[in-house]
Amino acid sequence: MTSKTTSNARTTAILYACVAAGGVLGSLARYIAALIIPVVAGFPWPTLFVNITGSLIIGFYATLSGPDGRLFASTRQRQFVMTGFCGGYTTFSSFSLETVRLLRAGEARTALLYVGISVVTWLVAAWLGHALAARLNRLKGS
């Protein structure tokens, strides 16, 4: 093995470790949110909460650490925060499970409401995070 392939393998291994570490922290944060936030009126508030806040964080961080951003972040840090933490913190699978469970329980109205509110608020949150960071990036000085 040449030294170049060795160093590529090392870089890849480090990025995997960053994603794994961020993923564990994000997932534990999601688990804690589910222990604290109650499900009221059969509506899955804990999942909605993590998916909205996770979208906000990724929108904010991606723009703040992007090409025109004021935060200089290494690839490792970006993978840790975005792929790792935000990816582990948010969940599309629970969203799907909860929607199908509502449908199977005959709660079609709640299911439809859950899907509609989820998609709109996730996207608005990601945009809001982006807009906030873009504003910070435009501020003079550092």
């Binding site: 994603v19 993923g23 996770g54 990724i58 975005m82 948010t90 599309f92 699978s93 799907s96 996207l123």
Partner: protein, 128 residues
């Protein structure tokens, strides 16, 4: 209580690593003009969660127990699937003037994931 945290942590290491592997593989094979990787991850994760959900409705099932559920569903599938990347990718498509592709991505993600989760339940029902 501590057992729950350990189950979630172990499952999530595997789930996050699996997502990073699959999204990288799809990006290299298919390219990155459309987020096929995240789409594939969310749809396959939804199918799996439907299967686990179906299994857990039987009280004799392993997945009706708290720790196996926390490992496989809250840990693994929770970390494997992602809403944050989905939101960021949709926003990037929209900001690049690709409004119709953004709308297609949202419709495919939500539609296929819900169908996959329902299919998972149906598979378990059929095999009972």
């Amino acid at each position: 209580m501590i057992g729950g945290f350990i189950s979630v942590a172990l499952g999530s290491v595997l789930g996050a690593v699996a997502r990073y592997f699959v999204s990288g593989l799809v990006a290299r094979r298919v390219g990155e003009t459309f987020p096929y990787g995240t789409l594939l991850i969310n749809v396959t994760g939804a199918l799996a969660i439907g299967i686990f959900g179906g299994l857990a409705s039987d009280h004799a099932s392993l997945f009706a127990e708290p720790d196996p559920w926390l490992f496989a569903v809250t840990g693994f599938l929770g970390a494997y699937t992602t809403v944050s990347s989905f939101s960021l990718q949709t926003l990037s498509l929209a900001r690049d003037g690709e409004g119709s592709r953004a709308a297609l991505y949202v419709a495919l993600s939500v539609g296929l994931s819900l169908m996959a989760a329902a299919l998972g339940f149906a598979l378990v029902d059929a095999l009972k």
